[in-house]
Symmetry: D3
Subunit: 317 residues, 6 copies
């Protein structure tokens, strides 16, 4: 694949696939109509122009992936593509991770680990619940694997929700073994479901932006409500256990002022909150420290941390 | 009815009905078993003793209402009932309001006003929703009429939830006419449902105490979840309107630190919050000012108001 | 009247009245002096130039209303008025509401309602106080009718103070009837006076900006002090009632951190605070929702509400 | 004078003067009436009984000072006075400082210093204002000298208001010389008046408790209002200077949440706030460290300082 | 060993060892002197009396462990020991854990793990620092093993500091492997030292109470200062690394209002804070849930968690 | 000296000394190398160009002071120096105060006052400590005299630390005489040392910016640590007095959220906090009011004071 950041004036591209971010039909000074696109991959965006409608050999819309033949030209100091052939690409012909920020971990491996963890749940109701969503509901699994965990902040990339969920689940495993009074099955299940509300709070890529539901209801309510609905239908779920599970999801932000309508009242809710918070903060730090010029030690004031952040001495290898 | 506070040593009572709050079988010093009860009406409580099990002419349990024949005796400076006959009362034989604090407004009149308000809702989905719960679901209606709106604070009495709901609905009507940009049907419906979560957060009388669900999930989640469930089943409810309604219920405490996971984002949510808050505060004030010695002007520091509260000059009639 | 926003190059205007916002005498490149004005009406502003001082046929100053004859010309992409005749207008020749943002309610009708409310006050001292300012003091009445209730936020227009005061008074009437323990006369009087300090905190139109007093003392002190002064002079005002009235005004912001030096300690002070707060918030919402493009649902983060605000579904007519 | 703490069973006292804190007529078991008093001096309180009404040789009431002849007896482990003669004392026959906590500084010397400071004020309007209250108004001066500055906390004793005021004035003098940009006359005058509202917020001794005005309006409003009234009457006081003075008094608590409706906006208001605050805290510390057993180093958690307070190493003399 | 809680009237004990908490010589009504002790083991305390000084066969003081022969008698409903023989015990003759609350983990095993972790540190300066204190300084090691990590709250028992430190170190290991950008050696070293200031903030058992240093300086300053002193002497420690290490210790409470004078500015400081916080909260929860009647689900409002805490459903074994 | 703000096109300067802020060697369009400097004095900065390397008659670096011969030319609307001769200046040839903002008080006089205050300390350990740093350690004294007390805010100029320290010491003297319970020697010593940590928190001029230590550890820890180190070495310093002194420095910000890890627990710590705070605020006000156009009364919202600040009426001379 030829990345947009590597295009140079005069290049000829054949059959490259880009995401068509926007599409407009405009009228030139001569009175003739033409099509103007913005094309995107994960390295940037470029304008595309189609002067002859015959070049559109098949229907496509904004937000479609498109096959393109074009020449790279320059106009007013910016590059653009003079497109001679364009048509819609089909799923499977491209890797979405070439077009959006994407987890650099292996999605299938992470998902396999999630499945193994579910297999190890002993309490049958919790296990059934986890299996229902994370194993049997293929639509859910497919969406879950691709979703981000944020619009920006931490894990704001494809697969980010899976990566964050796994990280929280693992830390919850750690807590379960360190503090044996914890009900492992309850905590692990709560960790699996704690952020699934984000699948409705945020639209999926390429948009990855707050939905109306998201802004009006928030992922904490949406997620708890979703699990509650399943439990209601499942019917025979023990009521006390159900409430404890819902409580964990509801309380996982830890403080009312962070959007949890209840403070943690059980050790599992407390543990989930600490696991979620630690991963959020340390991953944000990791993303921040991986950005910018590694020689500049002080990275400026970071609102989330209420501090100027410094790159510390690296470990010697 | 002979109220407990009016009983005097030597009185003979016949066929009086009291609530049996607790029931224990104990062993006396002589080795003989007897039954010890605590009996309650809205004026207080009294111990009851049954020395001869034959006096229990019919099965009854703690929290049952019971018919009692007894003589009032005195033991260690306290009165007690020497019970000669006891059996369970049936619903309809007593007025619950004689046994618990109860609204001093007319429950049926208040309910009629609620029904009339529902009749006036024009938006068909909102109307159907309100009718489903407040008119057609007779179990719900029966429970709603009897529930309190609090364990203590304001409206902590039978019928309190109905009284508070009506008061908030009326103030929302007022706001709808004053600020015409408000969607009246949406606001009125939200007001009707805003505290129904309390029907699960608090157990009904005689207990009127926080339930496990209540403590773990809170009435804001419970109520929003309940309405959400209905809407999911109803199916054809417009999604945007549904979210706006759920948002109103979710946001009605106005601030995250008061347990709303979202701040009001629409004028209806804002209006509902102000109506709820004003009724809560002014009713609490009313209950406070109606208590104690009317000659004592300063009522002491009240945590809810962060102030010493004063009885102000009365209106001249 | 020809509004500034409707002027086009080449238009000739005769005898139009505008507000002269600023006036400067400048020296042109040729060394000749000329006068440069900024003229304003409620639709916008335009530059005016007077090249010949003889065109000023009568004295006028900045902040005066002026009669103007002029031709609309264009200079560096902006329109300006080439003024051939200008003189000061007299009060009565123009409607101030054409030049500043103005309430869209009927001022005289609102004032009539205020008067009727005062007539209904029974307590003679409170009635005399209200009559003194709102009926007998014609200077006060005139200023009160024209004042705004804010520099920007809510009711920041001519007549805004009257509109807000009436709205709060009405809500206080509502509260008085709903919570009969409230001393209606006391509450209504407090509502009438609660924001009169704004008449000194903010200068009147065309300025409508914070005065020195306003910034140093604030409308809460200024208003309470004004009522206190009257009561001191009136002499026979019952001391307890006077303190309660002053307390209501002093405490109407509800919280120390919002500038009330005392928290509400009486039910009337509490009711006034809730009425003021509800009108402030719902009117701000109304003004916000009435602005901008009605098709854009989300209006962006609003600091006053600490939330992104959404236009909700409109009522069906 | 024989102090109450020094009375012993069997002592005979003649013509001692105590404060009669309370007075009740009671009926003994024999059916005979008697009078029961609580008598007080600065060292404590003692019960007094008058078995024969003839012993009351002259009318007196609770809160009067009384001459007493009595024998000290013991009843149920407590001492009491068997009073054989009692009559009201006249002002001048006793020193109030023997009966209430009183400044240990010389009142007249402190007052003389206040007067000298006023003499040194150059700005004629401020000087006239200060003279009006602190020199010419003898009623005011008399009350000012006797008042406390608090119910409990710091300077809660007779002469405390004078002592605190002088201390703040002196520190303001210090600030004026250190930061020459300060308007000394303005600051000194503001310091003189900053707490005069306490003369109405707190009743005078022997009560020294919050008045109704005090609770409803607070000393900040009361004091500012009083100065404002004088200025309004004085008439020719420069408006800007007047507002600056009132602002200093209004803002002297420094923060809205401490009851100042405005934050300091001038250097004089800022300086007054710091002087008031420093004296309040260091005097509270002084009173605290002067109490209790000097050998106990740690004095326990003090809410005002949010800390356990320690006696530090004493200076070597 | 015969525990104090198991003593019964009439028991004879021989050669039991208890901690002598207090020791006083008193004079009986007959004028004869006797010694009164309070004796303690981990199950409670009991009074001891020595009527004949000859029974003290060897010198001992309060806070010594003592060998005792005695008979258990009863006086005014409480048991006491009539001691016939008493002398001081020597270290090694008793297990301190029988007399104070003690970790239920194996101290030597925990310490071994600490040593292994230090061995794995690669950075030579950090390693030398850790070895200096935790391996070479035997006095330090001995004290460290016995110290508690709190007066009450979590880990308030002998060995508690070691247990908490190890728990935090382990969680930091976990974080280092999960977020590879972390400098493991730096984080592990910071974790080892983060609470060593508590060894001076709290006196050791049997007192285990705040010292003067502790109250005036706090363990955060004390610990950072101690490490800083070593580094200053060590001399060749890289300055940047030293500051980063000190920063971690200084910032480990995470927020200024929790006593850290700096917020975490590096990922290691952030990680240490989260590890410390999670262990503190989950261990407190563990200690709480291990107390009280396991059948009572709701444990009441816990200030540290700002919530009523519930025992959740136990895992099925 | 010819100040930079007074240079005009065409001026010839000879042997003027400026600070060389930056120095770069660049390549011109013709391919020839030249040197580009930024030169600074306290009135501003100017570009300097050296087209011929022979003009550099002696080695110099950025941050050196340099002698310059040059002609003032104009390039693209800005002045620059065409330098014909440049070499490094030696200390003593220039006055640093001509190049940086500098106290307008006499440094040597201020220092003399500091020395006199130290002479008056009676407690020998405190005196020795103060003498060690402020009299005997000439390096320390030299640096102390030149340091600023802030990057911007108050006393952000050469000599600012000395000026602020003296001001705080004086106010502490005042407090010591007003509240005799204060240990004067302890308080004065604490005042002397309270901000010495700034000498490492901020680099010295010309940089005057936060150092790494400063950002990671802060001046409160650094200063307390420095004094603690001396005391440890001094050895015989009484432990209680030492802790009290360290506590004063540690607690001088008064609140945890302002970076003090402990709240003041002694009257000396409290007094130091108030002295520091008052000087900080009143000096900031002084600097603010000395800036800008004296005719503009309102100076705009100032974050530090959370208020719009006004110039008040000046004293009449």
């Amino acid at each position: 694949m030829k990345y947009i950041q590597d295009l140079r004036e005069g290049d000829i591209i054949r059959n490259e696939i880009y995401l068509c971010k926007t599409k407009q039909t405009l009228t030139g000074k001569s009175g003739k109509n033409y099509v103007s696109l913005i094309l995107q991959d994960k390295t940037g965006t470029i304008d595309g122009k189609i002067w002859d409608f015959n070049n559109e050999i098949e229907q496509y819309e904004a937000m479609d992936f498109v096959h393109i033949d074009a020449r790279v030209t320059s106009f007013q100091d910016a590059l653009q593509l003079n497109i001679s052939r364009i048509y819609k690409s089909r799923e499977g012909e491209y890797y979405p991770e070439d077009y959006f920020p994407t987890t650099n971990k292996n999605v299938e491996e992470m998902y396999r680990e999630i499945k193994n963890i579910i297999v190890a749940i002993k309490e049958p109701n919790l296990k059934a619940l986890a299996e229902h969503f994370f194993i049997n509901d293929t639509e859910f699994v497919k969406a879950f694997k691709k979703h981000s965990a944020a619009k920006s902040v931490h894990h704001g990339f494809m697969g980010g929700l899976l990566e964050h969920t796994l990280s929280v689940v693992r830390l919850c495993e750690y807590f379960s073994s360190t503090y044996p009074i914890i009900n492992r099955d309850l905590l692990i299940t709560a960790a699996l479901f704690h952020d699934i509300g984000k699948m409705e709070e945020l639209s999926s890529f390429p948009e990855n932006d707050y939905t109306d539901d998201g802004q009006l209801l928030g992922h904490i309510f949406i997620g708890t409500n979703k699990v509650s609905n399943y439990i209601n239908k499942a019917g025979k779920f023990p009521a006390k256990l159900a409430n404890e599970l819902l409580h964990c999801i509801l309380a996982h932000h830890g403080e009312l002022e962070y959007g949890s309508p209840k403070k943690p009242a059980t050790i599992e809710a407390m543990a989930l909150h600490h696991a979620d918070n630690a991963d959020a903060k340390l991953q944000t730090m990791t993303e921040l420290l991986s950005s910018g010029d590694p020689k500049i030690e002080w990275m400026g004031y970071q609102r989330m941390f209420e501090s100027n952040i410094m790159r510390s001495t690296k470990s010697k290898e």
